[in-house]
């Protein structure tokens, strides 16, 4: 266990001089595995053990009133993020403060008394990724990066390309070549440098990591500026608590790809308790995966800590990460809070997309379908207490993954344009 701040072992320290307060109240980077401390910079892996680096803070006293007086986007929580106090003065996509829907119809369908949907499909590029990218963009800007980049399963590429365009920084986004066409178009519209890689997401990720190690001045949002990027996911947790009236829910169901979002929502809840912004109370965190890529669920059910990587095969491509970096931390959070990790089939994902749309008018992508479908399965298997207040997260918009449901919904009847034909159709 080392507490020595190490710069000498981090080769890629930026030549760019950091301005005072560039990262708000962040004090450095800390290894989640061994506690080794590293100075703030575009670093993501511990030089001692390869463990993930996380932002360490010296938080100021923050009141609910100060937060509520802030803008209706994630920067209302800027004191708790690695961003400068003047963050609003730089061009960004201003994501966040998305709607928290009381989902009584879905609740009735599933038998849950008090259910909410946190709907992140209303972010600027229609997924929660705008949150993390906004924080990554701030870091890239402060490091003086020339290129803003990412490996992505789609949503992240959309968010990076759009945020880079707005910020006037060159973007290069890498995706698996078999990605859903709408997600490709949603990136290519913002950037002329969409790179389709022949391979799955893990192959794309490997390539990006290699490029990040070679190219100076590139900020890969989920590689070398990952510690800053990941903090953006905390805002989901902050918002849920604030929108519930500064109260934590009893239960929350969150999709798991790398596992970062789930662990950061838990981190957000813990920070709110520590800062005295919400009352300390028990809550359960549940993780959702698609069976075709469910290494964390498999490990959870087997009662083991080691996660064996898999080759993904699921329609939920944004969850199709076979080697989830934060998977073991998902296991920790779900076990410690009394939650669980569950998975469902692709057919169940499709059914859940339709269910959410027809009960709440929310069209979710396959990741959201996975989350709602897992919520349903948790109820059916008695793993979730239906009398407790429950929040389910919708990470992105269904228009990006139309292909997934194209064959399961459509016209119920095709009729001639006359009243008799309508009566004969059996609709009423």
């Amino acid at each position: 266990m080392s507490a020595v701040v190490s710069e000498s072992t981090q080769v890629a320290t930026p030549a760019h001089e950091l301005r005072d307060g560039a990262f708000g109240h962040a004090t450095g980077l800390s290894c989640r595995e061994c506690g080794h401390q590293v100075a703030l910079g575009p670093h993501y892996a511990c030089p001692e053990c390869f463990g993930p680096l996380e932002i360490a803070y010296d938080f100021p006293a923050v009141t609910r009133e100060q937060i509520e007086a802030g803008p209706a986007n994630i920067w209302r929580y800027k004191a708790l993020l690695p961003v400068p106090s003047d963050i609003e003065s730089s061009p960004n996509m201003e994501p966040g403060f998305t709607r928290l829907l009381k989902a009584d119809n879905l609740g009735r369908a599933l038998g849950i008394d008090n259910l909410w949907v946190k709907d992140d499909s209303t972010n600027p590029t229609n997924s929660f990724k705008d949150r993390v990218v906004a924080c990554a963009l701030s870091a890239a800007r402060e490091f003086g990066s020339k290129v803003f980049a990412c490996p992505s399963t789609g949503n992240l590429a959309n968010a990076v390309a759009a945020a880079g365009a707005r910020a006037g920084i060159k973007t290069v986004v890498f995706i698996p070549s078999n990605l859903e066409k709408p997600k490709q178009i949603n990136s290519a519209i913002y950037t002329d440098s969409l790179v389709a890689v022949n391979g799955n997401y893990d192959d794309v990720n490997k390539l990006a990591s290699e490029i990040a190690g070679e190219e100076d001045g590139w900020a890969f949002v989920n590689v070398n500026v990952r510690p800053y990027y990941a903090e953006g996911s905390k805002t989901l947790g902050y918002e849920i608590a604030e929108q519930l009236g500064w109260r934590l829910p009893d239960q929350i169901v969150i999709p798991v790809a790398s596992g970062s979002q789930l662990t950061k929502v838990h981190k957000a809840f813990q920070e709110l308790i520590k800062l005295g912004l919400v009352e300390d109370k028990p809550y359960k965190v549940y993780g959702a995966q698609a069976t075709g890529c469910s290494p964390v669920s498999v490990a959870y059910k087997a009662g083991v800590d080691a996660i064996r990587p898999v080759k993904p095969d699921t329609i939920a491509k944004s969850l199709a990460i076979g080697n989830p970096a934060d998977g073991i931390y998902v296991l920790d959070v779900c076990r410690q809070t009394g939650g669980a990790v569950e998975d469902i089939t692709d057919d169940e994902v499709r059914d859940a997309i339709v269910l959410l749309a027809r009960t709440e008018g929310v069209f979710t992508e396959t990741a959201g379908g996975t989350t709602v479908g897992v919520l349903k399965k948790l109820v059916e298997t008695g793993q979730l207490d239906t009398s407790l207040e429950t929040v389910v997260i919708n990470t992105g918009h269904g228009l990006k993954t139309l292909d997934a449901v194209a064959d399961v919904v459509g016209a119920r009847a095709t009729i001639e344009p006359n009243y008799a034909a309508f009566r004969d159709s059996g609709i009423v």
Binding site: S8, T9, Q10, V11, A12, E33, H43, Y44, A45, C46, P47, E48, C49, F50, G51, P52, F128, C150, P151, S152, T153, L156, G199, Y201, D202, D203, N205, K206, S209, E210, G213, E214, N222, V223, R226, I254, P255, V256, A257, S258, G259, S260, Q261, L262, A306, R308, P309, K311, S318, L319, A320, I321, N323, P324, A325, D326, I328, A367, T395
Partner: protein, 92 residues
């Protein structure tokens, strides 16, 4: 048997800043032993105290993660490219 090994940024202090070095060995384990002989200390950063790959490092022979192959016993034929990459991931 010459193997090319790509070194991640955080291990280049062991290789004098080199991002790619040559090694020999018929398996990944032998390649790591050879690396250690030339760059003392590097093997201990890639393997844990039990001699297994550290949890947060991915090692590839060619384009394949060795966890899908034979782990440290994965063959490294002449001309193979070994890549050592810190584990990260996108997605939710």
């Amino acid at each position: 048997m010459s193997i090319s090994v790509r070194i991640p940024t955080i291990l280049r202090t062991y290789t004098g800043g080199e991002s790619e070095v040559s090694a020999t060995g018929a398996t990944l384990a032998e390649v790591l032993d050879d690396l250690e002989a030339n760059f003392a200390g590097i093997k201990g950063r890639i393997l844990d105290d039990n001699g297994a790959l550290r949890r947060f490092v991915n090692v590839y022979v060619g384009n394949e993660d060795v966890r899908f192959l034979d782990d440290l016993a994965t063959p490294t034929p002449d001309g193979a490219q070994v890549s050592v990459i810190p584990a990260v991931a996108g997605g939710c």
